[in-house]
Amino acid sequence: MEDKYKVIVGMEIHVELKTSSKMFCGCKNDPFHAEKPNIYTCPICLGLPGALPVANKKAIEWTIKLGLALGCKINTLSKFDRKHYFYPDLPKGYQISQYDLPFCFEGRVQTSFGPVGITRVHLEEDTGKLIHQKVDGRDVSLIDFNRSSVPLVEIVSEPEIYSSLQAKEYAKKLRQVIRYLDISDCDMEKGGMRLEANISLQKKGETKLPNYKVELKNINSFRFLERGIEYEIKRQKEILDSGKTPDQETRGFNSEKGITYTQRSKEEAADYRYFPDPDLPPIRLDDKWMSEIKSTEPELIDSVFTRWEKDYKVDRKLTELLFETTEESKKLNEIFSNLSKQKLAVDKFVNAVVNKKLSVNLFTVSVEEIATLFKKSVAVDDITDEQLTLIIKKILSINQKAVADYKSGKTNVINFLVGMVMREAKKKIEFGRMVKLIKSSIK
């Protein structure tokens, strides 16, 4: 495979922003926790005749924040456009999106396979949600507009992803950056983050992009993204090997069968008839506004990891597991710095937390208390298996009856033995570790 074709993938990722109100009206933006359908609606997000959109400033600022975090250039003059298509969940008959002047363009995401270019980051509104179900024995389609006009950011990558693994890493990395900025929950299961991959195979030696691409949609996990791309590579390769070109089409991923299937073919390709939305004046980002947004921009997440690796010798792969948001990273900073001041090993601390040896809520417990707890936990394990085994042997030999009881099936006698060993050792020792060692000594 590798020698015959090169995998070319470009990604489009949609993320719902968690602003308190919707993109173009004052309705609450909380579609996933709404008690009932259609409770967070008004004439604007229902697209009623005469209603007009007013852009959510916060959503614009967050989009630019994301663009800056991805190293994008920012359009100082931007605008919203109407994208027309018919679908029952789109009440105006068009979606307010951005066409030729997105807020952000030309950025980059680093992956371990190499950098992936970001073509653009733009802001649009989400649609309503269709629910197909049986009501009174009839198949009906219901529409819930709680999600209608929720701010939705679209991040489009260059076709610079060359494997399913890189695609997965790219998507995960994006989620990490977005969660770090604390602008979206990126809940993939509920649709708060939606992945689309454009996949094609390029014959080795060719430099031009293939003359087709397959758009893979409906992927709601990173694992399915990887599997879906793998399946497509296999499927497209077979078609190319037989001398044909795969159809340009949109395919969905069936996670139960692990296969992709045709959703929409090229013949149905839509002409969206984009034009600038006359209801929304163009947006000028003057220096003042821009510097306001920049002042809220946190330290880049990559530089946080690099700094920690340098200062505390902690592995990025582990620290990644500890936090999501900027606020959380700031707290970690304080914890690490305090531990370091007290000459406590930050890398061991990170290990202990990741391996659940130290069970503590890093973001509610104080920095000092965390250091104390860590000290205690270190003290616990400050005894080697050999030393511990010696003590265990001693206790077992003076408690022969207990050993016999254990052997006869009264296994809870082990608790008594643990207590005895603990008293002898004059230390707190992890329960599980002790049980294991006692058991192997009795055997």
Binding site: P43, L52, P88
Partner: protein
């Protein structure tokens, strides 16, 4: 006939308790009941009992400092959403549509204490200049029942012309306030784009739609504009430029003002009788101390072409929501005129054509804006005819779509530019009203109203009543 009095007079009589809102509302309904079966100025009337009750309450609650329009009956074009009151936009698709909210302009007037009588007839979605393209009964001109009243705000103009109501709110996308004002002998103001909130106006073409008052005189318009103008947080395109106290400046002299006559408006295509009437009016302006100067707008000739690409493009988008799955009515209910505009707009926006049509039109729109700006550097306002011809016989335009389009020749460019324009009666020809428009710089409504008001102090065209009222 109380409703023949000015807003100021009515307000004063009401406050002195010499008349009551109940009297006015009764007179309103009497007129409608007597005349509207011939004129079709209303699509929906509110229930008389309920309105009278409202009038009684107003009479009780009226205070010395109540708004000048407190307790006055009024009507509004059926393009505006009215909470829990049927709103059709003249189209059967919305035949039984009762919106859950009211347009900002309607809210402002109701909050000032006026009493809504009903919703006026219009060309469906504003598509037309004759009020024949309504899905309800075609409206008739009170000056000659065989003729059109102009449009699309024809219903509002008829209601004022026949004194069914003292004022109404119209909507002007390409002349829809000015054309019926001119043809029915009333005063109407197309405001600067952004001067009055569009929120709740059923959109025809969003970048051109403007909300404005229609009344018996310029003085009345100035009171109304003070109430309805201003920034609305629900309309991003509404302007925060301060609203003037228009009524306080009406008597200021216009001595030395330069009134430009754009020569392209007075060439072939214009009925010579209308030309004569307007040139006659210039003498009155000269008498008032203004100077008349010829100016030129060479790109004016492209106005209709530009307008008939941009307006249909936007309308094809705005009407996309009436897809048959909501609001009850099926798409088949769109009229031929509306279908024509949807098709034209869809085509102009389609991939492969948008560059040659829609985008090119937008570029030319910019040229047109510059041209108007330049012309208005040479003079203070422009004076022009509203319509190239006298009101046509009903049925003439509907059977000749191209002629229908050319009727808008003098009005559409002003919407493209976004400038304000005041339409006032300038005289009569063959017994039919002839209007003229005074076009100004953006947000120069104060100046237009001054000029119009002083003209109306010198003339009495605007006081003449249509023969249908008798006497």
């Amino acid at each position: 006939m109380l409703i023949n009095k000015s807003i100021k007079e009515l307000s004063s009589l009401l406050k002195k308790k010499e008349i009551s809102s109940v009297d006015l509302v009764k007179e309103s309904f009497d007129k409608v009941e007597k005349l509207d079966s011939k004129l079709h100025s209303f699509i929906t009337l509110r229930e008389k009992k309920q309105v009278l009750k409202e009038a009684e309450t107003k009479d009780k609650l009226r205070k010395e400092d109540s708004s000048i329009i407190y307790g006055l009956p009024f009507s509004i074009k059926d393009a505006y959403n009215s909470e829990d009151l049927r709103t059709t936009a003249g189209n059967k698709i919305l035949d039984d549509y009762s919106p859950p909210y009211s347009a900002t302009v309607l809210k402002k007037i109701i909050d000032s204490g006026s009493i809504l009588i009903g919703k006026n007839n219009l060309d469906a979605w504003g598509h037309g200049g004759s009020t024949e393209n309504t899905d309800y009964q075609p409206a008739h001109n009170p000056w000659d029942l065989n003729r059109i009243p102009g449009g699309s705000s024809g219903g509002s103009a008829i209601a004022i012309s026949t004194r069914m109501v003292p004022f109404s709110i119209g909507e002007d996308t390409g002349g829809s306030i000015r054309s019926p004002s001119s043809m029915c002998n009333i005063s109407g103001l197309k405001v600067t784009y952004g001067r009055v909130s569009r929120y709740g106006t059923i959109a025809y073409a969003s970048s051109l739609d403007s909300v404005g008052p229609m009344a018996k005189s310029v003085e009345d318009l100035s009171y109304l504009l003070e109430i309805i103008a201003g920034k609305d947080e629900f309309d991003s395109t509404s302007s925060s430029i301060q609203v003037d106290k228009y009524s306080q400046f009406l008597d200021q002299s216009i001595k030395g003002k330069i009134i430009g006559l754009p020569k392209e408006f007075f060439t072939k295509g214009l009925d010579p009788k209308i030309k004569k009437t307007i040139l006659e009016a210039t003498k009155t302006f000269e008498k008032l101390g203004a100077k008349i100067k010829e100016v030129s707008l060479p790109y004016f000739a492209y106005g209709v072409s530009i307008y008939y690409l941009i307006a249909p493009s936007e309308t094809s988008s705005n009407l996309g929501r009436y897809d048959g799955t909501r609001y009850g009515g099926e798409r088949e209910l769109f009229s031929d005129e509306t279908k024509r505009r949807i098709l034209l707009g869809t085509y102009a926006l389609s991939a492969g054509y948008a560059d040659k049509l829609y985008k090119k039109a937008q570029k030319l729109r910019t040229v047109l804006i510059q041209e108007y700006e330049n012309a208005l550097k040479e003079c203070d306002v422009l004076l022009a005819p509203v319509s190239p011809s006298l009101p046509s016989i009903i049925g003439e335009l509907i059977n000749d779509p191209l002629k229908n389009i050319l009727e808008d020749l003098y009005t559409v460019t002003i919407n493209l530019v976004g400038a304000p324009s005041l339409s006032i009666p300038a005289g009569f020809a063959e017994g039919l009203p002839v209007g003229m428009q005074i076009i100004g710089k953006k947000f120069a409504e104060k100046e237009l109203l001054q000029i119009g008001h002083l003209y109306q102090q010198e003339t009495d065209w605007h006081k003449r009543l249509p023969p249908i009222l008798g006497k």
